[in-house]
Amino acid sequence: MGRRLHGRGALFETDPAGLAPRLVGLRPHQHRVTPYEHPREPPLVVLSGARGLGKTAVLAELRESYKGHTPVGLIDCEDPEFAAPPTGRPAEAWSPVSQALLVLAEQLAEQVTGAGRIQFPRLMSGLVAVAAGGWGDADSERIRREVQRILLLNESGSWVGGFAGRWAGRVAAKVVAAATGTGPLLSAAVEATLESLSEGFAGRRHQRASAWYRDYPNAGDNARRGLILLSGHFRAGGTSREHAERHLVRALRADLTDAYTGVLPRMKRLGRPLVLLDNAHTAPGPGLIEAVLRDRTEGVGDQVVFFAAVRGNGRPALRNATRRALPELARSSDWTPEPGSASSRALVVSLPPLSGDDTLHIVGADPTVPPQLPQAAHRLTGGNPLGITLVAEAAAQHPTEASSLGELLTADLRVHPEHDGRPAYLELLDRLVPPDRLDELTVLAAAHDHDSACALARALLPEHFGPADVRALGERLTTEGLPAVPGQFVGDPFVRTLLLLRLHHRDTDHGQWRKAHETLVDHYADPADEQVRYRLHHELALGSADSAVAYLRDSFTTLPAREWLAALRFVASAPYFHAHDADGRDHCGSEDRRTAVALGRTDAGHEPPEGADAALHLRVRRLLHAVWQLTDPLTLPDRTVGQRLRFELEQLSNLRPAGNALLWRASRDWPEDALAGREPHIPDEGEGEA
């Protein structure tokens, strides 16, 4: 059965049947029938989510589950094949949709258990008519090449397989002869194609197919005229082309419907055909989806199951679509289309991150990894399936470095056996952020809002990247499905961590890293500003803890306990990279200095500033380093440091009668949260009393 996807049971389960078996009507990987959930018409399922949430993996698993059992077609709309016409083919006779239909039909035609190949006479005729529109100056060899591929869609592949192959060759020759002869080229090619359908061994099925284009608007009950009009509309571009493309999509669906019609096909074929569109937010995805949804709304139904994957949440085109989180679909989808609303015929399914248990199953599959690694990996990735998978892979390839996630991410990872390895974080960033904006995002990841981002852009990005571009980039992240979080320019903590990692390692002296943080330190320089903690956060990132300790020490008595804990938590969330000396330069070796400070080993060498409460100063310093270490997503939490944190918070609670309860509560919760891979939880007032 092969590798199973984790955390996607609501799609693939067999008992009770998940969404895919309920729609397709077959159990995954088996040739056994499952009752349909929507017997009259299935919803068009749109899988939504940010990059790395496993949409592509789900589609691949769907194909694996049903290949050989029911016709399956899978295309990736971002494939270069759909970006531009092949060389020598004019743009007026080619579109991403026409190419996608050809590729899909080629895959759907494959024979399955119990039934032979599916023939696509309607789509074939339509595609020939469209292609013929671009043959004005073509040589016969190109025409033959193009038409032969299209004609093979009508190959039956049965015991007369050889015969049918010859049929395609013969018809191709006829079409080429017609197209290169004198007279109107298009109508001759169309005529030859239609004739090929009704001649020779053609059965009633082919007769029906050859008459299908009679219903094309204004065709006047003449299939040839219908095809010529279709070709003209396609060439005209704009909405006319959309109209023509919609008819081509309808032709594909009609051919599929025809293959399931009749007593014999019904006795041979189980389930429904399955069409999978990856990256359907780019052309030809939207065109295909819209054509299907509009047709279904207008009553031109079909029984094809569509699964499309879109990045982001699928707005605004799918405004009225039913929206469900994947776990809600485990037993029923509770979907009812509204009459007259095309987008309501879609079912948008958001893929949730994986759970801690799933992470444990994936990362902990190798018993040699450190026991905290699965939880730490889950804290780092936030359940991102791609992140978890690559961390697990990195841990398997570098077992000696599995004690630090930072080192795992920077170690070379070989994704393909035949390729050289690359650092894992780069591998991840390639697939998690828009590749064209990676450099800009790497810098802006340190920012907290629009203003700070603009400051960074000014300091570190080329001049032409202005505030408008900053805003556009922020917008783009949201549409791609990354969460918008107040206080962070890049809302997703995993992506932000990876970007900061890239920023740090961008140059050998970490110059850009330093400059970015220095810029932000300057940006938040005003001591009267409320946002002083941002400055401390970035100073800490640069390796200087003194101001932060001083601020926390002094504010301990003045700030409410809750706010003080929040400030502590935020300042301590600064990124940390090991072995920085006091000036922020690398040491040799990989010892985590924070642990030493947190455990008080450096207290003797550290002189508290004059006039300050020395004991409190040292305690706050130890506390800050302990929280910094324990909440760092790139290191495994240290149990000793956790115990120390608990002790220090307990001691502090004694010093603050007013905030005693909150601090005491935190002394219990924070070490636990940290060790379990959760963000430290700031208790409420009531909670503290409890």
Binding site: H31, T113, G114, L264, R266, M267, K268, L270
Partner: protein, 515 residues
């Protein structure tokens, strides 16, 4: 693993797809039905021996009517059966009628089997002659072998098969042979004639297996070439000068039609005899040895106790018992006394009997009996009528040519026991009846017409048999048929003594039975 693989394949790739499911069910049903009939056919096949021949329930004997070269597992019969099959297969379909030879082909004792072999040879030679005569009359004759079992126990089965063959393209028109006059054979002949099938008895001699006894015709369509036991006894007595005071009767009790007829005839001769007739009781299958040897030892002792002038013993019994009796007489206490045993044609079996103590015949004991026929009977054309040397020579020539192809080989030939000759004559009578019943312009006679020919076989229409003239009376019995009296020699041969006549003299040249 493999099992789950097959199960999954059946479950998903066959059962789940309706078309394949229904096809699989159809195929399974066809296999089950086919298997059912196949097993049934195999079970039936198991009881079959050859075309038309099978083992009935509860029996290991192959009975029925064989139309092929099947030899009934009797190697002695193989050559002649092959010759018959060869002759049958040379006939054009539609041009022939079939005559069945009814004999116990599965007999196991050598005497009966030798008898069967000779009968087959005779019948075959007559068939060959009929089919190859220069002025051959249609139709051609096909010869098939009907086996009712060694004791005739399965006669009903065989008779049913024979009746079927009268209606099938086999066109069976007559049954010849029949062999010994046993109860089963009598029932078979009764049933055959009742169903309208003409029967020509070759060696049956029993009086009650004949028509015209007591004025009744219980077997319509039966003709015989051998004289009845009564006629044989009459001929025997006309030859031997037997008086009541000099003879002792030994008879089979309860007996069968043959022995009882003989016994009755002898009784007439011995009216007023001082000696009580001596009975013996053999097993039901009279070819088995049984315990009768003890009885015969006692009777032999009694014989020695008779008056010195007593020199004739009349024996009414079958050949196995006769052999036992002779063996015991050979050891009799009164070796100095001379005795002659007179008996019927059953004694002819003893010529080839290896268990016969031949030295007994050297001790003043002679065995004389009526033969059905004898090759030396017409050696010298002594008789002016009733038969001729020419007729006998014709058969002798045929026998000579049968030693090799194309006629033979037909196995070891012996004419001495007369079975070959009499079977030959019976078959010739059958052929004559068939030919005379075939109306002009027709290929094949009607079944009913064949049996109607018998009363006309007389006078100029007589059959000139190798055993003598065959002139049938109104009941199908031969009139005043020549009866050779022969004597068993110590060498195991039958020495021809003299021809005797039931009417004390040969028939007139016209050969017309008196009214």
């Amino acid at each position: 693993m493999a099992r789950t693989g097959v199960w999954t394949w059946l479950r998903e790739d066959v059962w789940e797809i309706p078309l394949r499911r229904y096809l699989a069910l159809l195929v399974t049903a066809a296999l089950v039905v086919g298997g059912w009939f196949g097993v049934g056919a195999l079970a039936r096949e198991d009881r079959s021996c050859a075309p038309g021949v099978e083992r009935p329930e509860g029996s290991e004997e192959c009975v029925g009517v064989s139309t092929s070269a099947y030899d009934f597992d009797r190697p002695q019969l193989r050559e002649v059966i092959r010759a018959i099959d060869r002759e049958n297969r040379s006939l054009k379909p539609g041009s022939y009628v079939t005559v069945a030879l009814l004999e116990p082909f599965t007999a196991s004792d050598p005497d009966n089997l030798g008898d069967v072999l000779h009968e087959m040879q005779g019948a075959y030679l007559a068939q060959y002659r009929a089919n190859h005569e220069s002025n051959r009359k249609s139709p051609a004759i096909r010869l098939v072998l009907a086996n009712p079992g060694a004791t005739g126990a399965h006669w009903e089965f065989t008779v049913d098969r024979l009746e079927e063959m009268t209606k099938s393209p086999d066109r069976l028109r007559a049954v010849t042979g029949v062999g010994m006059s046993t109860e089963n054979n009598k029932r078979a002949v009764k049933e055959l004639t009742k169903r309208g099938i003409p029967v020509i008895g070759s060696s049956i001699t029993a009086d009650n297996l004949a028509n015209g006894q007591g004025g009744k015709d219980p077997f319509p369509g039966l003709a015989r070439v051998s004289p009845t036991n009564t006629d044989e006894a009459r001929a025997l007595t006309s030859f031997a000068d037997v008086t009541a005071g000099r003879a002792l009767l030994v008879y089979d009790k309860p007996g069968d039609p043959y022995t009882r007829t003989l016994q009755k005839s002898f009784m007439k001769l011995l009216a007023g005899s001082p000696y009580e007739p001596q009975p013996f009781t053999p097993p039901t299958d009279r070819s088995e040895e049984g315990t009768t040897a003890n009885t015969f030892w006692q009777i032999a002792s009694l014989v020695c106790g008779t008056a010195p002038e007593t020199d004739t013993i009349l024996f009414a019994g079958r050949h196995t018992q006769l052999r036992q009796f002779i063996n015991e007489l050979g050891n009799r206490s009164c070796q100095h006394r001379k005795f002659t045993v007179l008996t019927g044609d059953e004694a002819s079996y003893l010529t080839g009997d290896k268990e016969l103590d031949r030295s007994a015949l050297t001790h003043k004991l002679s065995v004389r009996y009526t033969a059905l026929a004898h090759p030396d009977a017409w050696a010298e054309d002594g008789a002016k009528s009733g038969g001729s040397a020419a007729d006998a020579a014709e058969l002798a020539e045929l026998v000579a040519t049968a030693a090799r192809r194309p006629v033979g080989p037909i196995g070891e030939v012996s004419l001495e026991d007369g079975q070959l000759i009499i079977a030959y004559d019976a078959m010739r009578l059958a052929v004559t009846g068939i030919q005379r019943a075939t109306s002009k312009g027709r290929m094949v006679p009607r079944l009913a017409d064949v049996g109607l020919q018998w009363p006309q076989v007389k006078g100029p229409l007589r059959v000139y048999g190798a055993s003598g003239w065959i002139c049938l009376d109104a009941h199908g019995n031969p009139y005043d048929k020549a009866v050779p009296i022969v004597e068993l020699t110590p060498e195991g041969k039958a020495r021809f003594v003299k021809i005797a006549w039931p009417e004390e003299k040969p028939p007139a040249k016209e050969c017309l039975p008196p009214s």
